[in-house]
């Protein structure tokens, strides 16, 4: 298949190693971590010791330097077994910002321990009043001699209550002419006076993943903790998401693949009206369409990742992959649960957990609506994307 032809031998080996690890290890933790909303620290340590956590981070910063696609293949395999546990690969979330825009000192200090799985990173963008509209960020960072003083509240922060490093978007110039101007990014360390985090509980899905509200009350950070350029925070955030949304596309492909496999197995074994479900035309069509959609989503995700590995992610291709794969994942997981019938609905099956886990994929890392908007902007030449290269039709 094309999705296989695109991969190098090493990338295939990474995929297989990730598959074996997830297949053998995840079943030990999946149900309990979901039920208890418990972050799988032990599993993170195991995965890190095998090199899965920093797969995409360059070797000089403690990672494995295998590229984005190799990392994404591990993400796919982890999510194929369990989405919540698959989030252990998101403990690097935010370190990408430091790698893209940080100073050499920042990269050397903050990235290697995260790449080795010894420290956990998080990104603090969302606020109670600023989700998709991140230019509405109110958290302020006021210049105060050699320091910046940060005040504000961030919410729905992945890894928020377990993180060692917080990558924070804050407003440095309140009077800037446009809302998207005057924003800057800082890295704040756990334990900084005035920094507090409260774990948010009772999430619908990915309950093994930590989500928190993070409070900054007169948190002083030295000037050296400014990541990138003052006032360029919005643009930096957009570039960051263009990259990290590719991970999400692979999360979606993974959970869809897992749900499909469960559906196929169930349909082959469950009998109704003295036939296997797999012998009913209505089920056969479901399975055929599910598999087709997954392969299409996988190819789009691959395209976005290959583009990023060639140099720079294309915002249009990233948005397309994330939008489509997340959409497909909703459809496939829902159809799989439908095939499982009452057993799927009763909640103690993996498919029930997937049904809850999958929902976040059209919400976090850019809602479905935002992805569509980015796609449209790419098509219309409002964003620098290959999707803008459209020929005029001769019959216009």
């Amino acid at each position: 298949m094309l999705s296989d032809l695109t991969l190098s031998e090493e990338q295939k080996a990474v995929r297989e190693a990730a598959r074996e690890f997830a297949e053998k290890e995840f079943p030990k933790y999946a149900e309990e971590c979901d039920r208890e909303e418990k972050f799988p620290f032990e599993l993170l340590r195991k995965a890190a010791s095998l090199g899965f956590v920093g797969l995409h981070i360059p070797e000089e910063y403690g990672g494995q330097g295998m590229g984005l696609l190799a990392y994404c293949l591990a993400v796919e395999e982890f999510w194929r077994v369990d989405g919540g546990l698959g989030m252990i690969l998101s403990t690097t979330f935010g370190s990408e910002m430091i790698l893209m825009f940080g100073s050499e000192e920042q990269k050397e200090e903050y990235v290697p321990p995260v790449a080795r799985g010894e420290k956990i990173c998080c990104s603090c963008f969302t606020e109670p009043q600023a989700g998709s509209d991140i230019a509405a960020v109110r958290t302020s960072a006021r210049r105060d001699g050699d320091n910046y003083t940060i005040n504000g509240v961030k919410t729905f922060i992945t890894n928020g209550s377990i993180a060692d490093y917080y990558v924070v978007l804050a407003r440095t110039s309140p009077g800037a002419p446009k809302r998207s101007m005057g924003l800057s990014v800082f890295v704040v360390e756990r334990g900084a006076p005035g920094l507090e985090a409260k774990k948010l509980t009772n999430k619908l899905g990915i309950r093994a993943s930590d989500t928190a509200e993070v409070y900054f009350k007169d948190v002083a950070v030295p000037q050296g903790n400014l990541v990138g350029v003052e006032g360029e925070g919005f643009r930096q955030a957009m570039d960051f998401f263009n990259l990290t949304r590719i991970h999400t596309a692979f999360q979606a492909v993974g959970i869809a693949q897992g749900a499909f496999e469960l559906a196929l197995e169930y349909a082959k074994n469950r009998e109704a009206f003295e036939r296997r479900l797999a012998d009913f035309q209505v089920t056969r069509e479901k399975l055929a369409v599910m598999r087709t959609k997954i392969e299409a989503a996988r190819l789009l995700a691959l395209q976005a990742a290959v583009e990023a590995d060639r140099g720079k992610p294309d915002p249009g291709l990233t948005a397309m992959a994330k939008y489509f794969a997340a959409r497909v994942a909703q459809d496939v997981v829902s159809e799989s649960l439908q095939i499982h019938g009452g057993y799927g609905f009763m909640g103690d099956q993996a498919i029930s957990r997937m049904y809850r886990d999958v929902r976040v994929l059209e919400i976090y890392e850019g809602t479905r609506e935002i992805e569509v908007e980015l796609l449209a902007r790419s098509l219309l030449g409002e964003l620098p994307s290959k999707l803008g290269a459209v020929r005029r039709h001769p019959l216009r």
């Binding site: 031998e9 090493e10 080996a13 297989e16 190693a17 074996e20 095998l50 797969l55």
Partner: protein
């Protein structure tokens, strides 16, 4: 210590099985391949022997499509790999012949292989290779140690019994599953494997000793319902459990 380990790139038993149009082989299209499950234990045991005694582990595989499995061995800690590129259709005797050709060109202290393959289930290649090399061998080994020029192996017998044997080196051992806990392939291992040698060792093989007449799906097996008086049912059940080796 120079340790050789024989590995097979085999279809997974969980693959969808389809008989080819010729009725004599499996359609490879639907098969998913991996390292033979028993060989995974053999590789782990080989790497552990090296970690304890020092030396080198070399993996040998026969077939044209076994690169991925050999690379996996290299990623697990094997030092180099040798492929005998034989076209599909070789039988156990030919595989043993290929392996022996490789081993005759190398110096070795011990050869490990899986007890059997997950596809053919012959459990023949190891024993045949040992016979052709005229070296001692032990099969279905569940514990292994090497000290003072000999290998001590605990073999699994029927009915839950064990047998301990001593074999002078060089020797060959086929390992039973569960002898150890095979390590996961690490990303560091995959990267290290890139720099390791994987070379071809072409061998002109003789004719097959076994020809396949027909491959077919087995008739559906049915569960047996034990009926009768409670005492009679219990006795039959105990006998059944005993015959499977659970009770002695």
């Amino acid at each position: 210590m120079r340790i050789f380990v024989l590995v097979k790139h085999s279809p997974s038993p969980e693959s969808l099985l389809r008989v080819s149009a010729d009725g004599k082989s499996l359609d490879p299209t639907c098969l998913t391949y991996d390292i033979n499950e028993w060989d995974r234990y053999a590789v782990e045991e080989a790497v552990r022997l090296k970690e304890k005694h020092g030396g080198e582990v070399v993996a040998v595989s026969v077939g044209t499509n076994c690169d991925a499995t050999l690379r996996k061995c290299l990623a697990m800690g094997v030092d180099r790999a040798i492929k005998v590129p034989a076209e599909p259709g070789f039988d156990a005797s030919m595989a043993a012949e290929a392996v022996v050709d490789v081993l005759k060109c190398e110096a070795f202290d011990i050869v490990l292989s899986g007890f059997m393959s997950q596809d053919a289930n012959n459990a023949l290649v190891g024993a045949l290779a040992a016979a052709k090399l005229d070296i001692p061998f032990a099969t279905a080994v569940t514990e292994l140690s090497v000290e003072g020029g000999e290998a001590r192996a605990v073999r699994e017998l029927e009915g839950g019994y064990r047998e301990e044997v001593a074999l002078p080196l060089p020797c060959l051992v086929t390992v039973q599953s569960g002898i150890n806990e095979p390590r996961y392939v690490s990303i560091m291992g995959i990267k290290a494997a890139k720099a390791k040698e994987l070379k071809d060792h072409p061998v002109k093989l003789g004719d097959a000793t076994v020809s396949t007449e027909r491959i077919y799906a087995p008739p559906t097996r049915r569960a047996e319902i034990i009926s009768g008086a409670p005492l009679e049912v219990a006795e039959k059940l105990i006998e059944l459990i005993r015959s499977k080796g659970v009770l002695r």
